[in-house]
């Protein structure tokens, strides 16, 4: 299937949902890993919205990426509860050893998040959707290495 057909298949799956744009964008990100600018006119046409409306929604929400992420995505929690147990030290370590927040280096994308709901077991991180708690810099490195191995095998 070419890209347009894959996009249309996602739209079709949600065509009858009320307020379908968000479910469709989640579907597209699951399919492609990011929301390519080039799909916006197609979405606008199919959903009878203006391109500006679609662009506005895509850029409003932090989840929707404009570029493909690395094979491993690390979200570090920087909210208050994790700050109380050393989240900023963990962020400093990750920025030193991986990439700046919001950037990708090699296979790994580093980003921040405000709360993963693991507030009694901080500092917390989510690595490819899997929650981790009470992370030391060493454990963070090990968890990323494990995930990288898993994704490559």
């Amino acid at each position: 299937m070419d890209v347009a057909d894959r996009v249309l298949a996602v739209i079709e799956a949600h065509r009858h949902d009320r307020g379908a744009l968000l479910p469709i964008l989640h579907g597209l990100q699951a399919e492609f890993g990011y929301i390519d600018q080039s799909v916006i006119p197609l979405l606008a046409k199919e959903l009878n919205l203006s391109r500006a409306d679609v662009h506005g929604v895509v850029t409003f929400y932090r989840d929707f990426r404009s570029e493909p992420p690395g094979r491993v995505t690390v979200l570090l929690c920087r909210a208050e509860a994790c700050q109380a147990v050393g989240a900023e030290e963990l962020v400093a370590h990750a920025e030193r050893t991986i990439a700046k927040i919001g950037q990708t280096a090699g296979n790994v994308t580093l980003d921040q998040v405000f709360c993963l709901g693991n507030c009694a077991l901080g500092p917390a991180a989510q690595i490819n959707g899997r929650l981790h708690g009470r992370l030391t810099p060493h454990e963070l490195d090990a968890a990323i290495a494990d995930q990288t191995r898993e994704e490559s095998s």
């Binding site: 949902d17 009320r18 307020g19 379908a20 744009l21 968000l22 479910p23 964008l25 989640h26 409306d53 506005g56 929604v57 409003f60 929400y61 932090r62 989840d63 929707f64 979200l75 909210a79 208050e80 509860a81 994790c82 700050q83 109380a84 147990v85 998040v113 405000f114 709360c115 993963l116 709901g117 693991n118 507030c119 009694a120 077991l121 901080g122 917390a124 989510q126 959707g129 899997r130 929650l131 981790h132 708690g133 009470r134």
Partner: protein, 508 residues
């Protein structure tokens, strides 16, 4: 055959519960049940073994200790991870679990477990007594919205019920974005049918036929579990065209957020459900009259709706007997941050903050003195150690210039820099503001700059006056609680920890 319970809750999994469950499953004579978490998160992975004396706890368990643990269990020998019967642990005994009655006890996706533990009784009774009496029970109970604002649920429901409309909605706000809160997540993962039942009762009460639950994307496990629960509920006639064979129709849709804190604000959540940018709406009109797609809509938090089945099952009067003053029933408190014993603790309103933090929470995890406690999420006030005797009650908190919010309690030890936390409050607001109103969108950015000037020693007195002025403006001029309450953490930090704001020289 030995039955062991190993939680499937994502916090327990973050501490290694999956690996522990796999280690047990390797033994052919062990049956592993994946329950929710009991909420004693410092003990996770907490394994429970079914015995003649009830469920006996061991924790925290690591996979390598599973074989020796099984040997000890079979031999009836003692073990250093042995905790005793879980229901008898002080943390459990001191609680009054209504919302969380089944969380950690049952298999979250077993309809049999759900019914055996009192589930569906509330819905049956609601159907028996009819919509009007159902609303009356909720009003009678004194239940107030658990999302933070504390609006009486019965009044909201009555407004929706009394508003004419062919199409009405029930929306559950599961966009639990406040740092230090995770009770919604634990309920979604640990007892999803309870929420489905609560939403169905609400639909019956107000005449709604369609429901939406908006779960934040940061909770992928909760989304997966809840979606499975909805499928099972349909298959079981707990949702759909003819619920329990009683002619009630209610369809429930699961929607996932996309990383915007502001979508926890109810009108912004409605915009997001409509497929738009999560921009706050001006009120009035209120969502009860003009809500989702302009239709009459109930918007309630997870814990509000999860309290409803029990209120219907036992009657509103029984619920009203719990709690104090105008704060009736129970609240699910969440002990988080730098706390030794963190987790969820459901009890009647009126318990003191000190009791929760020091007695049940055991003080800080670091072992250092408690310096500040933030209650009610990132928009809640910082309370100094000397203020911990405050009772947990909506009005008492408001009098003290603080708020209970969603019941999150974040503990900080004496190493915390309160000027940095005040700066963070503005930084967070700048990051998460929807941008619709100027006080919030611009004020948050200016707030960061002013605090930097104060701590940088640049004309501190004039900048302090400016900061106070900015806080006034944001409080009075913002469209919603995001900008309106951001001054809470800032002002409380200034009031109680003024020394932290004295100009400092760069140390590097």
């Amino acid at each position: 055959m030995t039955t062991v319970h190993v939680p499937r809750d994502s916090a327990a999994r973050s501490a290694g519960a999956d690996e522990v469950a796999a280690a047990f499953a390797r033994h052919p004579d062990v049956r592993v049940v994946r329950n929710g978490s009991r909420g004693m998160l410092w003990l996770e992975p907490l394994v429970e073994v079914t015995t003649d004396h009830g469920r006996v706890g061991y924790g925290p368990v690591t996979p390598d200790r599973v074989p020796e643990l099984l040997d000890a269990i079979r031999a009836g020998a003692d073990h250093d991870l042995h905790l005793g019967p879980v229901d008898d642990l002080p943390w459990m005994r001191a609680q009054n679990r209504i919302c969380l009655a089944r969380v950690g006890v049952t298999d979250p996706l077993s309809t049999t477990d759900y019914e055996n533990h009192g589930g569906i009784k509330g819905l049956r009774r609601a159907l028996d007594i009819g919509p009007e009496a159902t609303v009356a029970e909720v009003t009678e109970s004194g239940l107030r919205g658990r999302g933070g604002a504390g609006f009486p649920a019965g009044i909201k429901w009555k407004t929706v019920a009394d508003t004419p409309g062919e199409l009405k909605f029930v929306c559950c706000n599961a966009d639990e974005g406040d740092s230090g809160t995770f009770a919604d997540r634990m309920l979604l993962e640990g007892d999803p049918f309870c929420l489905i039942e609560g939403m169905t009762i609400a639909a019956h009460a107000v005449g709604a036929t369609e429901g939406y639950i908006y779960i934040r994307s940061e909770y992928p496990d909760a989304v997966t579990t809840f979606r499975r629960a909805v499928d099972i509920a349909y298959a079981h006639n707990w949702l759909g065209e003819d619920i329990l064979g009683r002619g009630l129709r209610f369809d429930l849709h699961v929607r996932v957020g996309a990383g915007a804190y502001i979508c926890g604000e109810e009108t912004s959540m409605l915009e997001s459900l409509e497929g738009k940018r999560g921009v706050v709406r001006a009120k009035p009109p209120i969502p009860a009259i003009t809500g989702l797609f302009g239709r009459p809509t109930v918007v309630n938090n997870v814990l509000t709706l999860a309290s409803v089945p029990r209120i219907l099952a036992d009657g509103g009067t029984a619920y009203h007997k719990l709690g104090v003053e105008r704060s009736r029933g129970t609240q699910v408190f969440q002990l988080a941050g730098n706390v030794k014993h963190g987790g969820v603790f459901e009890t009647d309103f009126g318990i003191s903050l000190r009791d929760l933090v020091e007695h049940h929470g055991g003080g800080t995890r670091s072992g250092r003195p408690v310096r500040a406690v933030q209650v009610g999420g990132p928009l809640g006030a910082y309370i100094p150690e000397s203020g911990l005797d405050l009772p947990m009650d909506y009005e008492k908190f408001a009098e003290a210039g603080a708020m209970l919010g969603h019941g999150g309690i974040v503990v900080f030890d004496d190493t915390v820099d309160m000027a940095a936390m005040a700066r963070f409050a503005f930084e967070f607001c700048a990051e998460e503001s929807c941008g619709k109103c100027t006080p919030c969108r611009v004020g948050a950015v200016r707030g960061v700059e002013v605090i930097d000037r104060i701590t940088g020693g640049e004309d501190p007195d004039a900048n302090m006056a400016l900061l106070n002025d900015l806080c006034d403006l944001m409080t009075d001029g913002s469209l919603c609680a995001m900008g309106g309450l951001t001054p809470n953490p800032v002002r409380s930090a200034l009031l109680h920890f003024a020394d932290d704001f004295t100009p400092r020289r760069a140390t590097s």
